[in-house]
Symmetry: C2
Subunit: 342 residues, 2 copies
DNA sequence: TGTTAGCACTCGACCTTGCAGAGTGCTAAC
DNA sequence: GTTAGCACTCTGCAAGGTCGAGTGCTAACA
């Protein structure tokens, strides 16, 4: 039994209506509201088929149908109409672009808020994490006797810093020597290349002089590999509570627990995502069971051409996918534009 | 009518029982469970008095009594017994202290998690914000042609950095000149003193050479005055949902909305708090209406003797104040210890 | 004068019952 | 292959009844 045109139309109608109302959809509703040229009885027959094929299910005998995860999946892959943003919404996006003083964190945070207000779901955004970027500059500055600040910059413009302790006999000139050495030998070099060309040897040479040189190496590694427990920005956490499926506190709890484990949130998106398309993960397609009745819509943003982070929304599986996808796409474009204009 | 010893005992019993059960407390319960030497009828009379005095109220005629905000206030100020932490809990605290690689953000985040798990409420912590600290060191490094990173360190060990654009004709040696000048003239100087001794003049001198010198000044100001929208760390957001008063989603919503406005969360604690004691704010004593049926227990932590940030828990007004206060006190001490040992 | 027992009363929580409405599956007719 | 009709199922809701916890008041007691 294949999904002929009529079945597809019916499935589409059911998904749309359910997204709108959050109530199980009956055959009569479909006949009246969406497909006035066929009767409810016919639709009932088709619905029975669709249920057997796994695209729908019934909460109980005398209720309407609800799309299953495969139902949503088919809808997203085949039946979706592009959504468009209103002129007003487009303006709201542009406003961020033209904003003053674009400090990295603020821009991403604003983007998350914007995305959440566009979709009415909870928005997530990762801070930029350079996958395998290159060392641009390292600097060590003595801040007070016995304490120095190490600052590392990558070619993507990311910055990391850490305070380290020094033995008493080290002076700023020694630090300059070390950072000069590193800058000369490892400029524009990735972490992997560093390993090969011997940053570990440097560690041995210098290790005697700076006990905590390990921390410097670690800092470089974290920055270049993007392995730091990078920042996650959230927007509209409270908005998910508006959705009728989250009226029950127990359902919300598992999502909120995620907020406590930001490293877990990074894993939500994972590494599969290296396409420019908007990605949709529906229900249990997500690895984390905390969000097994949620869907996630995400997209990458880029910095100097390379993907460095992502934005997305998390909502119920009964999500307005068309709208969410458009909003996520536009906001990710916005971030890419902002980061590449400077 | 004054609060004689017996009334105090009864109030104490009611608050304790209500904290425990979250159910309105009846006279019989008190007589049986707490004060077996007086009868329920007597307690009823006393309770009527306590209600008239504003320490209790009744949800409806035939229900028990619930402490009012003034009831909690009197309890916290006069009737509280010190709580103690279990050996196990003390160990958990010490564990953070002895942890490796104490990166600032991680330590504070861990502290928030710890505090939340100790109390079962939501924990908040501000990142260090130096109130009026002193410039320790400024460094400007050219990262690529036309782009420089400015790094500023305060005497509290706080670090801020920002990327600025440069005109083409500026080189690293020029940047060094400028930062040398600032370091020589403003070392160990507060923002207020800088204004007096003329950082604005410097701006005029140098302004011609670096268009974006404003941003450098702004960065210094933000760091020294602690006016940056500093980081707020949260722990156990999901835990508040366990409390019976937050079974209703609408009550949770207003709290979660706070999470979206981190600058508002800073204002929760505000400036009144410059004592070393643990501070308790009950219900509408809080400025923000979002938390009008919550209580907040906070304490400062210090860095080199100066108060730089705070930790606290947010829970229902029916909070185990004794325990919360002890936990908050210990965790704030922990942070102070950690920051001062290095 | 303060304390206590007893009693009538109140109110919410909970259960049962009955009904209306929405929706289905099946069958027979078109 | 499509449709109308019908019996059946299940939820949601409102009405009514009972139970139990708790109160305020009064009268008796120490």
């Amino acid at each position: 039994m294949s999904l002929d045109a009529r079945k597809q139309k019916i499935l589409q109608a059911i998904v749309r209506d359910y997204i709108l109302t959050a109530e199980p959809v009956g055959s009569r509703t479909i006949a009246r509201r969406y497909l006035m040229d066929i009767s409810a009885a016919t639709i009932r027959n088709e619905m029975a088929d669709l249920e057997e094929m796994g695209f729908l299910h019934q909460p109980h005998t005398s209720a309407g149908r609800i799309p299953s995860e495969s139902g949503y999946r088919f809808y997203v892959d085949n039946l979706l109409d592009e959504a468009t943003l209103s002129e007003q919404e487009v303006q709201a996006i542009k406003q961020i672009y033209h904003q003053q003083a674009q400090v990295l964190e603020n821009v991403i945070q604003e983007a998350a808020h914007l995305l959440s207000s566009l979709t009415d779901y909870m928005a997530l955004a990762s801070g930029p994490q350079a996958g395998s970027s290159r060392l641009q500059k390292l600097h060590m500055m003595e801040v007070q006797k016995g304490k120095a600040l190490v600052v590392v910059v990558s070619d993507n413009g990311l910055v990391a810093n850490r305070m380290i302790n020094l033995p008493d006999d080290i002076e700023q000139s020694d630090l300059d020597g070390i950072s000069d050495y590193i800058n000369r030998n490892f400029y524009n070099v990735t972490w992997n290349q560093m390993l090969k060309s011997g940053i570990l040897n440097v560690r041995q040479d210098i290790g005697r002089r700076i006990e905590q040189f390990d921390q410097v190496v670690e800092l470089i590694q974290e920055l270049l590999l993007g392995e730091s427990t990078a920042d996650i920005y959230l927007g509209g956490t409270a908005r998910i509570l508006v959705q009728p499926e989250f009226q029950d506190v127990n359902r919300v709890r598992s999502i909120l627990k995620l907020l406590d484990h930001r490293e877990a949130m990074l894993s939500l998106v994972g590494e599969k995502q290296f396409t420019d398309n908007v990605q949709v993960t529906i229900g249990s397609e997500n690895q984390l069971e905390e969000v097994e009745n949620c869907s996630l819509v995400t997209a990458l943003y880029r910095w100097n051409g390379a993907p460095v982070g992502w934005v997305g929304v998390l909502g119920p599986t009964r999500m307005d996918y068309a709208r969410a996808m458009t909003a996520v796409r536009e906001v990710s474009k916005l971030l890419t534009d902002i980061f590449n204009k400077g």
